[in-house]
Symmetry: C2
Subunit: 330 residues, 2 copies
């Protein structure tokens, strides 16, 4: 692996000159420039990124944690990660994956900072009062979150989120338009920031249609197909049961669908995420599609701004999702 010194020797110039040529800086005569470039090509020289980063006191690496508390898999985050990497590479940065035993554990983040492995972070799976927001903000480490903490910290930090309230409002409203009046929801536990948003959209749509929400129509479950099945069976054994169910995720919705097919009871169902399999469940599942690519791109851009020192505090963006209507809600 040739170094800048070898190039300098062969080109009869100083290492400094080579550096300037490589970076298009300084006043270098065309001949010298040419001579240097020739040697660079002949040797197949490529700059040692690590040396440069050491000097610049940066790593040009972004950290992104995968929590292991959620073995259920998440196609949204998988896509998100892909788009994120792609956008970050445009900035000549890279994405480093690390694990976190728990989303509310800041220790792995501290380790990454102390080891100076990363210049900043992307967070996902945010929860209410997410401790990472406070920790990273106080540590003065750049980061952008996919999702909010629904706390005052949201004013101070950078986040991009899908407007779950609008999405669930649309979903619920769509069912109302189809004639449903008894609409239930299967939501996550109250700790989930995104879950809470989606619930609010549901309630809002009911209110606007003059329907009084029934407390027993809110069923809380962890994510998962089996939990959707369970939730549906619980909701449908209520007196005066719902005729339609909105779900905070397609996994849950798939379980609801499964229950309705098994029990031969027609049910309006709308999910959330537009999971790849939604178009092929039976019946196919109406869902709220998250604009994952847009989110990833914006996050990468906001992070780059911070990293490049253009910081303005508290930039945030809410991106509206899109309702995709299929057989489960016609």
């Amino acid at each position: 692996m040739p170094s800048i010194k070898e190039v300098a020797q062969l080109a009869n110039v100083s290492p400094a000159t080579v550096s300037l040529v490589l970076n298009g800086k300084g006043n270098i005569s065309p001949e010298t420039r040419q001579r240097v470039m020739d040697v660079v090509h002949k040797l197949g020289y490529t700059r040692n990124v690590r040396a440069r980063n050491l000097r610049d006191q940066q790593s040009r690496v972004i950290g992104y944690a995968r929590a292991n508390t959620r073995p259920e898999y998440n196609p949204i985050l998988e896509q998100f990660t892909y788009y994120l990497v792609r956008e970050i590479e445009k900035q000549d940065r890279h994405l480093l994956l690390f694990t976190s035993p728990d989303d509310s554990d800041v220790a792995p983040y501290a380790d990454m900072i102390d080891g100076q492995h990363v210049d900043g972070f992307v967070l996902s799976y945010t929860v209410k009062n997410d401790v990472r927001f406070k920790f990273l903000h106080e540590a003065n480490v750049p980061f952008v979150a996919f999702g909010r903490s629904l706390s005052p910290m949201d004013e101070l930090v950078h986040w991009v989120d899908v407007d779950g309230r609008a999405g669930m409002f649309d979903a619920t409203n769509h069912l109302i338009q189809k004639g449903h009046e008894r609409i239930a929801i299967i939501a996550w536990d109250e700790e989930s920031a995104s879950g809470q948003e989606r619930e609010e959209g549901y309630l809002l749509a009911l209110q606007q249609a003059g329907i009084t929400p029934r407390p027993d129509f809110t069923n809380r479950k962890l994510n998962g197909v089996e939990n959707g099945y369970l939730g549906a069976s619980q909701l449908m054994s209520l007196p005066n049961p719902p005729t339609a169910i909105v779900c905070v995720s397609d996994m849950i919705a798939a379980g609801v669908l499964r229950w309705s097919v098994m029990n031969h009871i027609q049910l309006g169902v709308v999910g959330f995420d537009d999971h790849p399999i939604s178009q092929f469940t039976h019946p196919s599942l109406s869902s709220v599609r998250q604009p994952v690519e847009r989110v990833a791109i914006r996050i990468a851009q906001l992070l780059a701004k911070q990293l490049d020192g253009e910081d303005v505090d508290g930039v945030c963006e809410l991106i509206p999702p899109e309702l995709v209507v299929r057989e489960s809600s016609v």
Copy 2:
């Protein structure tokens, strides 16, 4: 961020001494050692990993590419990535994600090597005669592949794979035991190494049962639920159509299931991967479960061996998968 120099000054020793203490090397008196450690703790000093890596000529980072030619998502690889990161962290290494326009494009790999971002690679989505094998082997860069190339290169490099032949043999044999005689397969294109293995298992099981394979019973599709649907409709319009279909992936199998439900035709179906949704399709899907965690752990270990210089050439491992029987094949 305190440096080793500051620690040295406060402890009244030289930076070298601090380094020796930190690494438990050299002959340092207990008092000096204690004095240094006290200052280290007082300052909250952590070693600058980048400086160390520059000196050691390594990055302690493993590269892993995500190809963007396959927007369909893959829960197996998502899990795989997670387990991989976890195991690699035990080695004080990290996983760097990068994108590749195409699995058979080595340019992104070359870039990562030239930039000295990584010490080695993990490959997945291997294809027949995978060009990356040859390239990385010749470049003398350590790597371990999840999957083979079904070429002579397989003898020279390191790979770990799930025994798709055994898995598909079991799946097919299971259907034969259930009384099926006309069993078709929906496979991938012939470029896919893992796809070919699985086909062989299918053929093997038929042969062993004395069933002559029908060429028109092999249907090739790209992965995806919609393609499974299409494949099923094509196979089922053949004269003397199959009574059962094995599929190289659960995505494809889900499409087959969908077709069979829509057309009210009972069909034995077995998929491959044990996708999380398989237990909740209607009917639930029998599938071949990949031991992803074991694969990831072995890959990380084999890579570590190479990186630590214990190289032995051509270590490879075939790990048997497990058939999970559900409603679609009873």
